[in-house]
Symmetry: C2
Subunit: 429 residues, 2 copies
């Protein structure tokens, strides 16, 4: 593919981007009433095309990886970017999983009849055109493309410049699938302009053609999107997730959940960042947990009580309670019961996912009811905050806003609805 | 009440407004878990207080009306602004109706169990703090306040300066109700600063305390809100509603629906603005409709075919198809079947409400499926586009956006949800 090497004039960027919007809007009108069968056929054909194009995808990816290495990007970044034959096969299987999901479009969400005989139904419909902005994971190209297609939406994908060759190769497979199913190729478009201004134009809504923006990536990206977008955004800025060990927690359960919530994978948004422990069980329940974490190489930052009980802990600052480490670091605070834990989370949390460990149903229900987070858990690891784990199939992201959808955003959350009213000649008195 | 007569310094406006936001946020934390009983008691007590304060409300309203007359505002405006004892009683009854609605908070929207035993429930929760911006109807103060309270949300009401005395008197009754039920008085706050800058500060989100803005009023107000708001907005800019008379329509039904859709009340958003008639029945079905409308004083603006059939029609311009008259004027176009009607509506409509009149179920279902409007109807008047008529009780507004809620916005639509996950010690593999 041709990658523009020099920034283009702003007018050219606008024109090119707005043309993508217009083509997406036209494709969306077709997709809105596309059959489940044709959408699934396109996704399955894309999976086959991806397998057939494996060499091409790996060669494009090798070029991306070489460029990233030449730019001095770190090992974690290179790992997220890198594909091999096994990963390509996993992407193809993920497409097949999305094809196997029930079609979210056309679901009857509610239906009732009015005393005057009007029959009113609330029916799930696609949102329209979605702008997806992501960073270096090439598989997002396939997942986001297929999730949007499954939900009847056109999508405009804008991947990070570091993965653009890989994204283009995967995108070609998606277009193969669309064409084989007789669906418009513009249903899944890829932004090829690497100019940063292209993102700004996308965030402005491409002349009113974009209905929703989904950013997926680091905090800087999400923050820019939330600040600049002139259209609705589904996203979470950060996941400052809490595990609260209540004084009536089973100590072994608390130990297993706290360790898993922090250490299973430290870089995902559902990873715990702060551990709250009831003062009454700081020694009995807390010390084994802190010992496990320290032994696994996790840095512990505690308040005074925690440091008194576990001297290896470094002091936690006010800033620590507000920090999403996404790393093997945890802040730990001793609290005075469930209300104190709730107050801490409401003050410092990011309304993503919080879990209480306790055998006391009353304390658990108080915690679950009082917190204003997208996901609240009882006796489970915060790492379950994931569309796949929720049984939604794949997810395009996780939302912590209040409107439309919170938590994992899967194909159902990529739909809106309309009211269909059937009458027999009713006029309003 | 004291009404500031001179614009205040911008810093003072910001400080005062942001303080309203902080108090609203604190009230919302209490309301989130308030019992249905206490919310209903507050609303019913407010209705009683409003009745008890009738003289005070009417006296405040008389001052508003006198000021509006002195400013030379027109008769329609004065009518919307004016209260009498009967209207005050209607407002009180509307409060009682809202109290009688089922509590939308805590509804279990979905629940399922995962293979690993995790029990996942999607539970309706309040949104938080809502900013309500409206114009001259004093009853909106009571309706919006009670709808937000019923749905567990704190609200900050900003009424037009022309109704501020009436709004303040009604607001006092709402606060009486909150206090009698032991709920925070800050659950329903009224902006008393008349400075236009106050609206700008509200639209910026009051330091992150506002979760949603609902504007209700004319197009200029809604446009400003949509353009300036930095938080989500639920609204409709305009309702360019269509009635389409298909060639298989029952002529008498078409006549009754078209007349009602246009003329029952011309100033509401669900009023029809454009009539589409199949060419094949332009004479048989169309002429009686146009005759009825003309006789009732409705101005008709037609395309060439319509004017040939009905010479009294004035010529419709391109602009007419995009115009929400909110008056006794209608644009009329002859079309070639259902696909032509759909194309017209998608090109010129505002995605509010459209109705097809036909005895042909196939044509009707095609119309209902193809259109991307919040409400699509078959054999019914577009004037049914209303929360009360939909059986939702009162509505705070009607939305035509794609996200969160479309169509009438009642108490259910003023909630969001969270996931409550109950486990028995599950950790993620």
């Amino acid at each position: 593919m041709k990658i523009p090497q020099h920034p283009e004039p702003f007018d050219t960027v606008c024109e090119t981007m707005n043309a993508l919007g217009a083509r997406g809007r036209a494709a969306a009108a077709t997709l809105r009433n596309a059959s489940s069968e044709s959408k699934n056929r396109a996704i399955l054909a894309a999976a086959d095309a991806l397998r057939a194009r494996t060499r091409e995808v790996l060669s494009a990816n090798a070029a991306d990886v070489a460029a990233a290495q030449a730019s001095g990007l770190n090992a974690a970044f290179i790992d997220r970017l890198s594909l091999d034959a096994k990963r390509v096969e996993a992407v193809a299987r993920s497409l097949a999983d999305i094809a196997a999901l029930p079609d979210p479009v056309g679901r009857e969400l509610a239906r009732w009849t009015r005393p005057n005989g009007l029959d009113i139904a609330r029916i799930a419909t696609p949102i329209g055109v979605i702008g997806m902005i992501y960073e270096s994971r090439p598989n997002v190209t396939a997942d986001a493309g297929a999730l949007c297609l499954k939900s009847g939406n056109a999508v405009i994908l804008r991947g990070g410049s570091e993965c653009i060759r890989s994204a283009a190769a995967i995108h070609a497979a998606l277009v193969d699938g669309l064409e084989q199913a007789g669906l418009p190729a513009d249903a899944i478009q890829l932004v090829r302009i690497q100019d940063r201004a292209a993102v700004g134009v996308l965030l402005a809504g491409l002349n009113g053609t974009i209905d929703l923006i989904v950013p997926r990536g680091g905090k800087a990206l999400v923050k820019r999107v939330q600040e600049e977008a002139r259209v609705p955004v589904l996203a979470h800025l950060e996941g400052i997730c809490h595990v609260y060990v209540h004084r009536h927690a089973d100590p072994e359960m608390a130990r297993a959940i706290a360790f898993n919530a922090k250490m299973r994978r430290t870089g995902i948004c559902g990873a715990a960042e702060t551990l709250l422990i009831d003062k009454a069980v700081l020694h009995s329940h807390g010390l084994p947990i802190l010992g496990d974490l320290a032994e696994a190489g996790c840095e512990i930052r505690g308040d005074g009580a925690v440091r008194a009980a576990f001297p290896a802990a470094r002091p936690a600052t006010e800033e620590d309670w507000r920090t999403e480490y996404l790393d093997a670091v945890i802040s730990v605070r001793a609290v005075d019961g469930v209300d104190d834990a709730i107050a801490h989370i409401e003050t410092y949390g990011s309304h993503h996912t919080e879990s209480i460990v306790t055998a006391d149903a009353g304390a658990a229900e108080r915690f679950l009811a009082a917190l204003d987070s997208a996901i609240v858990m009882w006796n489970a690891s915060t790492q379950f905050a994931d569309g796949g784990e929720f049984g939604m199939g794949a997810e395009i992201g996780i939302g912590t806003g209040k409107l439309h959808a919170r938590g994992p955003v899967g194909v159902e959350q990529l739909t809106t609805f309309k009211y269909v009213v059937r009458g027999t000649g009713q006029i309003r008195p």
